[in-house]
């Protein structure tokens, strides 16, 4: 849907002349005149107004009776009154009606003090009740889920939670049961409401009917403070508010609405994962390995041991940077490595190298979409990622785009995911078929169209000044190439076969995209992983070219990375060959897999900055060997993972995201501030300061020395040309996309995008032999440290789940629920089988990053097949 134009009109409210965009809900438009119209059910984030609560009744000239403001679009010349006797009587009446069955147990209610029902009662209610009948009673409180308690007596049946479940999360679990005054909120058959986004209903509830089990009875609004920050637990980077007590304890996390990032939603990992911050098992003091075991030591001891060990290894040091690392920390680390130790070997990507030219191409502003582009695109292509698990808030965004703006969705990937049901076209591939599928799609887009469709007039050309200087040719879209038509067709057929999909599926997808104007491509980092990562990215860039992304306003790519701050770390200089600003580093370094291979050979020390290779990197066995062979390991870590416990020599306590100060960069280029909300527990020090200190000790002192995190930020803006002049003030509140600043002109140039027919030929799909299956991996929202260390989330920690097609299940004698063993080359993991109809035969999918039996055991970066067998019950 095209971006709606805003046409300002003026109308009168309570005698004031007010301007507002035409068609805006009267409730919102009234705010422009400082008039507050009370509402309960109205919440534009939930879609169309439902008109249930009737709290917003107002007088509109020319209307015989009162009208609800929430569903009334403002019109030019409208005259509205909100203060007349009849409006007041109606407001009093509604509040009185709402309260007659409300328990008024405010003194023991979590919502007390921040409750819309209290506020509206005071502001617009009659002041006293005339109701003397017995109130309605329900059993209270009940567990709606292990995360949420429901108190049905307090519920005012405003529809918000039910609408959220049905119309935003689309999990359809929460419903109204019974009717009339016996209506209550519940689930089908009383199942617990467990869903990735369930916690949002706590924020939405205008009364204390839905409360967080993590927060219930922990505090009152007047003894806490709220501080804004960013959730860095996943790449969605939702804006959050921490509710903090005594500057020391996070009690709650709730959404801080940023329409450009999160639409005001959070996933449950982000909402409840904060409990891990206060987990007793957290590392809060420096530690040193002595006599084979880790012991707490003083900071000075740890620092000097670390500095000594690293100095000894010098250029033989390598570093891995975890995805939650801030730009500042990443910048300081690459400085320490390159300038202090003289080593170029650092990598923030677990899965494989990214070609420097491609990194620059992907960084180009004209290829970047921003999150709100999803709403107004004609089509969204999702490649090799399940958004719900890997960037959950974007899953909601795409759903919203489909539901509200009729955006078309094309899925490309091997594993059926949460967006399958509403998708318009699905190109289902083998686990590694992404490269070939994108090549096929790009080639199919150039095919002659069966019926000639005029070029979409929805393609608004970008500002010519912004189009890339790279030599894109001038071929017009919709003007098909006549030559080599049949060769092109054969190519599509061949590529589709190599992708393990049908040419028909590819052409269907191409047809959907050809007719579309602005298109946003959301692509999973795994496309760029492994030995064919470079070709995967090339295919992606060719698709971008075929879709005319650089020339089309509102089109673009958004990466779904494996780590929260992947883009920021890349731009701050944490890739092996790239220094700050995506500029070539003086010396090319080795990517993670080669670092593993070099450890024990010419590499002897390893710095792990919030990184845990045994958990997140492919080839666990290889990493185990590498860590054992490493002489000296320095880890910045928050928990004693296997990596830390068995291999670290010096451990620096890592900060939690509630303690950090710094910036992160969203995949769409938005720099956002992570703000410190609580004091550091124990002896935790700011990681940036530790890195600065190590830098100073190891030959990379700063002048003047880094005394504060903002000083590091400033150093980044000086080192990265396209961030030049950026200030933290600019980032306040909602952050800022660097592409929208003047300095974006300094983004490094990239070669022109490849054409579909210039792509290398992808390999034949691996042919599984004697009953083996192709291995694919997926991430789970719930496979992560938070799920293990936040007590309330523990029930969600996933066991390994082995997804098979029913055909393969039959062939292997495996049924859903059976325990199976998946093995390859002597490594094996166990899991519970799940037969999924939509899964293509001869593929098997496992979760990466489970605490035990992680799929990373089986990976070594190559396309692989595995043997699956049923484990007989002992």
């Amino acid at each position: 849907m095209p971006r709606p134009e805003q046409n300002f009109i003026s109308f009168e409210i309570d005698g004031r002349e007010v301007r507002a965009p035409e068609g805006m809900s009267l409730v919102d438009a009234a705010k422009n005149g400082d008039v507050e119209i009370p509402v309960f059910c109205y919440e534009p984030k939930l879609g169309q107004a439902v008109g249930a609560c009737r709290m917003c009744l107002v007088e509109i000239e020319g209307s015989p009776q009162l009208e609800i403001a929430c569903k009334t679009p403002v019109e030019d010349g409208m005259v509205v009154v909100t203060t007349s006797d009849s409006v007041k009587q109606a407001q009093n009446a509604i509040v009185e009606f709402l309260l007659i069955n409300h328990p008024l147990d405010c003194p023991v209610c979590d919502k007390g003090g921040e409750c819309p029902l209290q506020d509206i009662t005071f502001g617009w209610g009659p002041g006293r009740s005339r109701f003397i009948e017995p109130k309605r009673h329900f059993e209270k409180p009940l567990e709606l889920s292990p995360l949420i308690a429901i108190d049905r007596e307090r519920c005012i049946l405003c529809y918000r939670c039910v609408r959220f479940s049905g119309e935003v999360a689309e999990d359809y679990q929460l419903v109204f049961l019974e009717r009339a005054d016996s209506t209550y909120v519940g689930t089908h058959q009383g199942h617990p409401y467990v869903a990735p986004f369930s916690g949002n209903i706590i924020d939405l509830c205008p009364v204390g009917a839905l409360t967080s089990n993590a927060y219930r009875f922990r505090a009152r609004p007047w003894d806490v403070e709220n501080g804004g920050s960013v959730c860095t637990l996943c790449p969605s980077q939702c804006n959050v508010t921490f509710t903090v007590r005594d500057d020391a304890k996070v009690l709650r996390v709730f959404a801080r609405d940023n329409a450009k990032v999160d639409d005001g939603w959070l996933c449950d990992r982000g909402r409840f994962g904060f409990q891990a911050v206060h987990a007793p098992e957290r590392i809060t003091r420096p530690m040193l390995r002595e006599g084979g075991a880790l012991h707490e030591v003083s900071w000075e001891r740890a620092l000097s041991e670390a500095a000594g060990g690293l100095e000894r290894a010098g250029a033989g040091t390598a570093a891995l940077v975890g995805g939650e690392t801030t730009n500042e920390e990443g910048f300081l680390l690459q400085r320490l490595m390159r300038e202090g130790l003289g080593s170029p070997h650092l990598d923030s990507r677990p899965g494989g190298a990214l070609d420097p030219e491609q990194a620059r191409a992907l960084g180009r502003p004209e290829l970047a979409a921003m999150v709100p582009d999803i709403d107004y695109a004609d089509a969204v292509v999702v490649v090799d990622t399940d958004l719900q698990d890997e960037s959950p808030i974007l899953d909601l965004r795409v759903r919203k785009a489909i539901r509200r703006f009729a955006v078309k969705v094309v899925l490309v990937g091997g594993r059926p995911g949460a967006l399958d049901p509403p998708a318009d076209a699905i190109v289902r591939t083998t686990p590694d078929g992404g490269e070939a599928a994108l090549g096929a799609l790009a080639a199919a887009l150039a095919e002659v169209e069966p019926v000639s469709v005029p070029p979409s007039d929805r393609r608004v050309p970008r500002d010519p000044a912004q189009t890339p200087t790279g030599g894109l040719d001038e071929r017009q879209h919709g003007e098909p190439e006549r030559q080599g038509e049949s060769a092109g067709r054969e190519r599509v057929d061949d590529l589709a076969r190599r992708a393990g999909t049908s040419a028909e599926a590819v052409r269907n997808a191409a047809a959907a995209l050809r007719a579309a104007g602005p298109t946003v491509v959301l692509w999973g980092e795994r496309l760029s992983d492994g030995p064919r990562g470079r070709q995967g990215v090339a295919a992606l860039l060719a698709l971008a070219r075929a879709l005319e992304i650089p020339e089309t306003e509102g089109s673009g790519l958004i990466e779904i990375p494996s780590g929260t701050n992947a883009r920021g770390l890349r731009e701050a200089g944490c890739l092996p060959g790239l220094g700050p600003g995506l500029l070539d580093a003086p010396q090319a370094g080795r990517p993670a897999a080669e670092i593993a291979a070099g450890l024990g050979e010419d590499l002897s020390a390893l710095v792990l900055l919030n990184a845990d290779p045994l958990r997140t990197h492919p080839d666990r066995a290889g990493w185990k060997r590498a860590l054992e062979a490493t002489t000296f390991v320095v880890a910045f870590a928050d928990f004693e993972s296997e990596t830390v416990a068995e291999h670290a020599d010096v451990v620096f306590p890592a900060e939690s995201y509630a303690e950090r100060e710094g910036t992160v960069t969203h995949a769409d280029g938005r720099l956002q501030r992570v703000r410190q909300s609580i004091a550091h527990p124990g002896e935790v020090r700011p990681v940036w300061s530790v890195l600065a200190e190590l830098g100073a000790r190891l030959g990379a002192p700063a002048d003047p020395p880094f005394l504060t995190s903002p000083m590091v930020t400033r150093a980044i803006t000086e080192a990265v040309p396209f961030l030049a002049g950026l200030t933290l003030e600019e980032l306040s509140g909602k952050g800022k996309r660097w592409q929208e600043r003047d300095a974006a002109e300094a983004a490094p140039e990239a070669p022109s995008l490849p054409q579909a027919d210039e792509l290398e030929e992808p390999p034949e799909p691996v042919a599984p032999s004697n009953g083996d299956l192709r291995l694919g991996t997926t991430r789970s929202l719930w496979a992560g440290r938070e799920t293990e260390h936040a007590p309330i989330l523990r029930f969600l920690a996933p066991h390994q789940r082995v997804e098979l097609s029913p055909q393969d299940g039959r062939a292997l004698g495996v049924e859903s629920g059976d325990e199976v063993e998946v093995s390859r080359n002597g490594s094996s993991v166990r899991g519970i089988a799940a037969l999924r109809d939509a899964l293509p035969p001869r593929s098997v999918y496992l979760i990466e990053g489970t605490a035990q039996d992680s799929a990373t055991e089986l990976l070594d970066g190559e396309s692989t097949t595995v043997t699956v067998r049923r484990v007989e019950a002992e």
Partner: protein, 445 residues
Amino acid sequence: MTETNLRLLKDIDEPGLHTIDVYERRGGYSALRRAVTELEPDEVLEQISEAELLGRGGAAFAMGMKAGFVPKGDTDNYMLVNADESEPGAFKDRVLMQKTPHLLIEGCLIAARAIDAVQAIIYIRGEYEHQADILERAVAEAYERGYVGKDILGTGWDLEFVVHRGAGAYIAGEEMALLDSLEGKRAHPRMKPPYPANVGGGVYQGPTLVNNVETLCNVPYIINFGVEEYRKLGTEQSTGTKVVSVSGNVRRPGNYEVPMGVTCREIIYGLAGGPPEGREVKCFLPGGSSSPALTGDEGLDLRFDFETLEAAGSMLGSGSVIVVDDSQPLVPFALRLAEFYRHESCGKCVPCREGTNWTVKMLERIDSGEATPMDFELLAQVQTNIIGNCLCLLGDSMAMAVGSMLEKFRDEFERHAEEARARNEAALVEQSAPELAAAPSIGPM
């Protein structure tokens, strides 16, 4: 005595009228034939408009105008028959569907033709199982004869016809709730706009014309005999006839078809025989349980048409007359009505959900003698606070009926409460101090 059963119910006692053979023999489907073979859809629409046929489902909206709102061209339009008849006192649609289902089907087809619909749907109240069976059979017959289906009467017009059984809620008869119910959701009224006739507003988002059973049963007559003939009965504004369901304290309850504009007295006394010997009409609800009550004195000589009853502060509504004679206490009657609405409120909007509940609780106390003197005023104010503030008209319906009874018979309500209280006291005294109860008289305490 007033002539009755002139048009819709004319052949109602004809054996086998529900079969297509008998219906055709009686001239059935000639209007459809004329509408599809001789008239353009616009001409059909024009005739309905000129007849000024007003909706019989309660809101008295001009059918022609509503049909005119349905866009024609590239939308899939739907014809939806509201056969959810669930209002206390209303049973006119039932007799029409049971006895002359083809009349409804024919009217529905003509209307579908006028709006160029692709599908016609009858949403019938779930409890009307017998009538639904009859309708289903009738629709099958109409398919067989080529009145429904592909290439109707050789004109190339296709229309599918579905009988959909409701799931048992009064609110499902409210057209916006009906749409949701039909689509498989809870019957909660959707918000207007968009109206059903608008793009995006109707069934499956398609523009939809929603009409009551009786409204549609008028259509074949208009096409057969012309607008002028149609308007010969009825008043200038309320054209044609009305099937009236008369119930309550009358000797001959039942359905009577009368020309619009006869007096209420003719209906209640003339046709339905009036209350039993020796009793008078205390009040009556002229338009079903949702209409404000009229006292016998003020109402009996009013003309029974939309405009007169509205001017008198009540309404013709669905045209179901509920008669209360002077032997009936009003408080239990009002309580029974309120209980119905409390039970049937969908619960979506606050004033209806909470207001019906509160009203029932107050009426219970008044009925059982536990009222306080303030309760009558409070009860009245609660009704005022409901009216005009709800999402649909269900809440208002109760408030108007209960509110009007309270207003017009306030002294009876107060007396009722007082008498009940005295009875309670007497019972209490008898229980705790039988010797006092036996004493000749004790004054009020």
